[in-house]
């Protein structure tokens, strides 16, 4: 066909000198390149945040350890949390959304390509600003370098009195800058979904990936903005002498908690809903079945997003709120388990009776399913206020949310990496290395985070830099730390696989998985303009219709 010549056409950037190629990357407004920039950037920070976690775990490997000082330990947990949430998971998810959203809805780019580039560079410079604190935050006071107030930075730790120098300011401004980047990207995603769908793709015919990223973007708009507002208030307090969180002048430390968690809890769903999106694309393809309960999946997602706005104070049960407030937040938090459970059953029903192919992406998705279930169950335990009164700020909480973020979100994201790597690079990854990565990471994950629950139940608080021997925590902490090395080995295999496959992998072809969404209809990697001719779709699985003209989906939808 004539279009073949067009789709295999490569812009001849390959022959350009290195400086010109780098210049192309820095000045690009192409959603695919920005997507890759987002993903590479988040991988760099994943390594950095992982090193910080490893430092903490080495410090806690035995009682009375002296690997790092308490001050360094405080900086490590603050930087680890801030990095992983804002500069690893969010950019990674934005990267996938950027790359695949236009491809999946048959568009040639995002709605606002230049805003897209601007948002990426805001996020990128936000991360650099945060890490510049190691050099620049001493200020005139010689008072410590990196932020050490914890990732939720409760008042009054952030006041001038308790945080001399500029470490907290670096934290504030880096999150403000990257927050504006996130809002920009979210606006872009929403406008792309509403204004750039290809002909025939009604909202009800969009891939679930597009739906879930739309919901995520709405949550970003509504949740990251309050964080930006709170950061502005904190900056007013610290630079202009305001009293928002200054209890000495009648201000309130608790209102910072409210403002932070009004952002903080929807943020969890900002992170996990794109992970749902990955799973909702991968599970059907590797089960060789259409997704079960498409419309219920959409409804459950919207429902989760809606409820997630009214559960924030379950992070604050130990602060001491009134019984009525506690009751409300207990019930709303428990209610969110219902739509989440619906989603789990839908994925299971998609696999049920399917012809399951246990490739690496599918393995990670199955890992996601089980681990997300357990993460949800400990979540329901913690949603009961009396339970949290005992275990708030303990390692049980740490284990719970790492189960969500590592066990669910990171697993799904690894699945997405393997699933779409052929599309992004044009090369197949190495299946053996992929499976090795999966098993190493699975073993490491369970060694670390299963065993982390128990010291929490035994009363080990989070954020302590060392502990007394003989409390029954010693062996457990040793096992937890050993798991970290398995995870690190898994990550090394993963990076090695990406690099090796990029240079030496087999050619993937445009549709290695025999999948059904539009991104597989164009070449791998796609040309700059994505589609030579804008496609027209009639069902949720346009490529199924194309491959099976005798039995197309649109006859049944």
């Amino acid at each position: 066909m004539a279009t073949d010549a067009i789709s295999t056409f490569r812009p001849d950037t390959v022959s350009l000198p290195l400086v010109a190629r780098l210049h192309d990357w820095v000045t690009t407004v192409d959603h695919k390149r920005l997507g890759i920039l987002y993903i590479l950037y988040s991988l760099v920070f994943l390594i950095i945040g992982g090193i910080e976690a490893t430092i903490m775990r080495i410090q806690l490997i035995r009682p009375h350890n002296n690997f790092v000082s308490p001050d360094v330990f405080n900086r490590m947990f603050t930087m680890h949390g801030t990095t992983m949430i804002f500069f690893v998971v969010m950019p990674m998810l934005f990267g996938f959304a950027n790359y695949f959203l236009p491809l999946m809805i048959g568009a040639r780019d995002m709605a606002f390509p230049r805003l897209n580039a601007f948002s990426f560079w805001l996020t990128a410079f936000g991360g650099i600003l945060l890490y510049f604190s190691f050099l620049g935050a001493n200020g005139l006071y010689g008072a410590g370098n990196a932020p050490d107030v914890g990732w939720f930075a409760y008042a009054p730790l952030t006041s001038r009195t308790f945080s001399l120098g500029h470490s907290t300011d670096f934290w504030t401004f880096s999150l403000l800058v990257s927050g504006f980047g996130s809002i920009g990207t979210a606006i872009n995603i929403i406008a792309t979904v509403f204004s750039l769908r290809c002909p025939g793709m009604t909202l009800a015919k969009m891939p679930l990936f597009a739906w879930l990223n739309l919901v995520m973007a709405v949550l970003v708009v509504l949740a990251v903005s309050p964080l930006s507002a709170a950061q502005i208030m904190l900056a007013v307090d610290r630079y202009l002498g305001g009293h928002f969180f200054d209890t000495q002048a009648g201000g309130s430390a608790v209102i910072w908690m409210h403002f932070f968690w009004i952002f903080g809890h929807p943020e969890v769903y900002v992170l996990v809903i794109p992970a749902f999106a990955f799973v909702s694309e991968i599970v059907p393809v590797f089960s060789r079945k259409a997704i079960f309960g498409y419309s219920v999946m959409v409804a459950a997602t919207v429902c989760i997003a809606f409820i997630s706005m009214s559960v924030w104070a379950h992070h604050m049960f130990t602060v001491g709120m009134t019984a009525n407030v506690n009751t409300f937040f207990v019930l709303s938090t428990m209610a969110i388990a219902v739509p989440t459970g619906i989603k789990i059953f839908n994925w299971l029903a998609t696999m049920w009776g399917g012809k399951i192919h246990f490739k690496t992406p599918m393995l990670f998705c199955i890992g996601f399913l089980f681990q997300f279930l357990i993460a949800g169950l400990t979540g329901i335990m913690l949603s009961a206020a009396p339970f949290t009164w005992h275990l708030g700020n303990s390692y049980f909480v740490v284990a719970h949310f790492h189960y969500v973020i590592v066990g669910a979100i990171l697993f799904a994201t690894f699945g997405a990496f393997y699933y779409w790597f052929p599309k992004m690079s044009g090369k197949m990854y190495n299946e053996t290395l992929g499976k090795l990565h999966f098993w190493l990471f699975l073993i490491g994950f369970h060694l670390t985070f299963d065993f982390m629950h128990i010291p929490g139940l035994l009363g080990m608080p989070r954020r302590i830099y060392t502990y007394e021997p003989g409390r029954g925590w010693d062996t457990l902490n040793l096992i937890v730390t050993i798991g970290v090395f398995f995870q690190a080995a898994g990550i090394l295999v993963f990076v090695a696989n990406l690099l090796w496959s990029y240079f030496h992998g087999d050619t993937a072809g445009s549709d290695p998985w025999d999948a059904w969404t539009l991104e597989w209809s164009t070449s791998s990697p796609p040309p700059v303009y994505n589609f030579a001719i804008i496609p027209v779709v009639r069902s949720r699985r346009p490529l199924w219709d194309l491959k099976h003209p005798e039995d197309p989906d649109w006859k049944y939808e």
């Binding site: 066909m1 979210a186 509403f194 903005s225 007013v236 209809s521 030579a532 194309l546």
Partner: protein
């Protein structure tokens, strides 16, 4: 298996989607509303909690005239966009200039009020909780007015040099949406600061 990126289906359908500019601006307005909500909540939460004076009831006077200026600028910008849609560029420039003038008058009103509060009443952002929340909330709004005025000035300059034509009506309309939002927020800020908070 076919790999061509060609037409998936040749079904003939009519296809119309909302303009990306309007969708984008509505999203921006949602994000801005969330930011303002947090500042409004902080203001309301701290009403009457200042430990020292001056208190709002002693020093604040509702800026009725300047409020009328700002709110009527919503009308003038609407008339400007309407003129442009009908290709009346001259009338567009005139209404657009009125919008700029009314907005600038409002900003002058805020500046005058702040000057009075700082130099006559001794209320700064550091004085007490009222000062902190008042200057933050009103300042956040004034910042948005300033951004809007800069954008309006840019369009006015383009219009004066003859670059704004009928086909730009939709883009100008997006800016007008932002300006309506800034006006609507003032209604909330006015109610909170000068009615409830006093």
């Amino acid at each position: 298996m076919s790999t061509q990126p060609a037409v998936i289906s040749d079904a003939n359908i009519t296809w119309e989607l909302p303009s990306r500019g309007r969708v984008g601006m509505f999203c921006l307005i949602s994000a801005e509303s969330a930011i303002f909500t947090i500042f409004v909540v902080a203001y309301l939460f701290y009403v009457g909690k200042s430990l020292t004076g001056p208190m709002p009831k002693d020093v604040l006077h509702a800026p009725i005239f300047f409020t009328i200026c700002l709110l009527s600028s919503s009308l003038t910008i609407h008339l400007a966009v309407k003129s442009l849609k009908r290709a009346k560029v001259g009338s567009f420039a005139l209404w657009w200039f009125f919008t700029l003038a009314l907005g600038a008058t409002f900003l002058f009103g805020t500046a005058r009020e702040w000057h009075h509060l700082i130099y006559d009443e001794g209320l700064t952002i550091q004085t007490n909780l009222f000062g902190t929340t008042y200057y933050s909330l009103v300042g956040l709004h004034a910042f948005h007015v300033t951004v809007g005025l800069l954008a309006i000035t840019t369009v006015l300059l383009f219009a004066l040099f003859g670059f704004v034509r009928q086909e730009h009506a939709e883009r100008v309309d997006v800016l007008a949406l932002y300006w309506h939002f800034v006006d609507a927020v003032w209604v909330v800020v006015f109610t909170v600061v000068y009615v409830i908070g006093r």
